[in-house]
């Protein structure tokens, strides 16, 4: 059944959507869009590392992204630069270094476009295993840290005062972000991963009145985007990443017609 590349892509995409749904909600709630972007850009370095050392791409991307996250936390402590400047610094420099390293790797044929924008042809049975097992692990850990993470997202001091250890939850969440980027890089491509996290969740915000319903709508939005996007990609021979994100955008635009009244009143 997994012989067909399209079935493999579909199964992979569905696996990714189940994980990006809930994580994407937290990315929006905690205002981490640019943080996600930075990790994704640094993934290029991870990919080149994987090629030079002949190592698994997902694992090396995970390691490099986690390291970048750690460096960011250190820089935040030690410099006086604002957060967004540090994010930009890390995002663009890691992307640049990654591209320079690729330039040196003349002995390997690189599909840069596939790397940046996703390539459904590249999804192997091995990748499926990584996506589904890795994805299940990410969701399990997210469920375990849900209460402290969510409580501290609402109000850090309340969570801290009432003994929920929000700092630990935040650190674990950062690792989960690196992990989702690692497993979804082949599907969506590193330039568009954050879109997969944010757009379905943004659509869900327009439709929901509670955190749980937002997570569910976000998953549904992600699944629909993947399915619609992949069929379009097959039909018109477009890159899988941009097709999926465009489908997500269309769903978001549709959701604008159903914005909950209370949000309108607030803004």
């Amino acid at each position: 059944m997994f012989d067909d590349f399209f079935i493999r892509a579909l199964v992979a995409g569905i696996g990714v959507a189940f994980v990006t749904g809930p994580l994407g909600c937290f990315v929006i709630w905690r205002r981490l869009s640019y943080f996600g972007d930075t990790l994704a850009h640094s993934a290029l370095l991870g990919v080149t590392l994987a090629f030079t050392m002949e190592f698994n791409i997902a694992i090396s991307v995970f390691v490099i992204s986690s390291m970048i996250a750690l460096i960011l936390i250190q820089l935040q402590k030690k410099t006086n630069l604002p957060g967004d400047a540090l994010l930009g610094l890390l995002a663009h420099s890691s992307l640049a270094v990654g591209l320079v390293v690729i330039g040196f790797l003349t002995f390997i044929r690189f599909d840069i476009m596939g790397l940046l924008f996703g390539d459904i042809l590249a999804v192997s049975v091995n990748d499926l295993l990584i996506i589904w097992i890795g994805g299940a692990l990410i969701l399990l850990v997210l469920k375990l840290i849900w209460k402290p993470l969510f409580a501290s997202t609402v109000n850090y001091e309340l969570a801290e005062a009432e003994g929920l250890n929000p700092d630990r939850a935040k650190a674990i969440f950062t690792i989960l972000m690196a992990a989702i980027i690692a497993i979804s890089i082949k599907m969506v491509g590193l330039l568009l991963i954050t879109g997969m996290l944010i757009i379905p969740a943004a659509m869900a915000r327009n439709l929901s009145s509670s955190p749980q319903s937002m997570v569910i709508y976000s998953i549904i939005g992600g699944l629909l985007s993947v399915i619609i996007g992949l069929f379009t990609s097959l039909e018109f021979n477009t890159s899988s990443g941009p097709s999926i994100i465009t489908a997500a955008l269309l769903l978001f635009i549709l959701s604008l017609f159903k914005i909950k009244q209370s949000i309108k009143l607030k803004n």
């Binding site: 709630w29 205002r31 001091e157 309340l158 009432e162 003994g163 915000r205 929901s208």
Partner: protein
Amino acid sequence: MSSDQNILVKLNEAGLFINDKWLVKGVSLQVEKGKIVTLIGPNGSGKSTTAKIALGIYKKIDGSVEKYTSKVGYVPQKISIDWTLPLRVNDFMVLTESLNKETIDEALSLTGVIHLKDKNLGDLSGGEFQRVLLARAISKKPDLLVLDEPVQGVDFTGEIALYELIKKISDELNCGILLISHDLHTVMTATDHVVCLNGHVCCSGSPMDVAKNNEYKALFGEQASQILSRYEHKHDHIHTDEGEIKKN
């Protein structure tokens, strides 16, 4: 003071030094089961900071905090909730602890906001939100309640009712309460122990003792001390800058 096992939280010479200045310094106090300890003092005197030190929110403090319970309910003075979060009152109630429906309903009824249960948190008025905050803090039946100006923005009759409720909760749950309040009248009638802050502990003791204290009078004025005073008190002296008393 009662025996040590009743102590819920104890501050020993605690202080916080941030950005080259002391927010509060050398505060020693303890909250025991069934007792209400109230912090009073002017704006910027370090009341909220002291409460946060007691809660363990600040890590790098001077002195020490001993906390003997993890069942804590907290009503912060300021709470800013990001409206990118879709959050109903009901979701907010179970924020830090899972509660069953009866417990949630009971707490919301006690503070008079059960009818708002399914409303979006962002749509509440200041007073309504304050009642929800209090309901959330008491619903988990904590050992220690820290209430930082819990009735701000609540209407006059509601204010009295909520203070009565706080007193009742303290008795029923036998929990200790650390209360911050500007309402000296309430403070002086419903409190077991008063700590008067002004960057440091000005004076502390029973409401009676504090009301008679000269530093308290200097901080809050003669009117404030007369809230409790049973005697006619004639102002026959003035305070020097050092806080000493000089006869007219």
